[in-house]
Symmetry: C2
Subunit: 132 residues, 2 copies
């Protein structure tokens, strides 16, 4: 009973024992970010098209990422009758909510990368002096 009550409370990602940490890890993996944002931009997408869209992802990593995101309720999976059968994926309402934040993040990085790159190229003056 107390578990039931606790599970309705909001989480605290700063607490290492909070289940939010697991979900944060799932959605911030490189492939998850890109898969979710691709589905937000493109709508329902077949596995093969998703693999072409997300540059560099392997079939295995894509399948694993999709399974994790489906288990968390962020996307739905549909088998499209065809020969051979096609599998397609789409965001759920829950997935759309979280992905809006990720799309904002990716959009920000895409837009500001020249500035970040110029800072990174300028380099750090003295790495030896920076241990905290």
């Amino acid at each position: 009973m107390s578990v039931q009550v606790e599970s309705l409370l909001p989480g605290d990602a700063f607490d290492q024992n909070c289940p939010t940490r697991v979900v944060l890890d799932h959605v911030t993996s490189k492939w998850a970010v890109l898969v979710l944002v691709a589905l937000l931009e493109d709508g329902e997408t077949r596995f093969s098209a998703l693999r072409r869209r997300v540059g560099g992802v392997s079939e295995k990593m894509l399948a694993q990422t999709l399974r994790t995101l489906e288990a968390d309720g962020f996307l739905s999976r549909r088998v499209v009758p065809a020969t051979p059968p096609q599998v397609s994926y789409a965001l759920t309402d829950l997935g759309r909510g979280i992905t809006e934040h990720l799309a904002g993040l990716v959009g920000w990085i895409n837009a500001r990368i020249p500035e970040v790159e110029s800072i990174r190229r300028a380099g750090r003056p003295d790495p030896g002096a920076r241990s905290a």
Copy 2:
């Protein structure tokens, strides 16, 4: 010269050769997300306080995360004269911009974790049937 011109173009995180990928990896590491959001919420923070705030982070991982984020231009580092000297960190304007998206993400997860957890607990009906 062509490098100079190219570097002013926006990025494309779906392209595996785009430098956005490196920055995306940096800011979506578990510790980076939490460190950035902590600095947005708390303002300038000393290393030791940051370590207590971000549950579970080791001294080594925190130092490494801070160095990476500083090199990307997202945070600044200041040595506070004291005995022993203290080191403190704060978001730059650039860092504040990207962190607003991460704070939205963490806030969403904190708020919706009960719903995600109930979906995860319900489980997937037949893992064997789901290979893509």
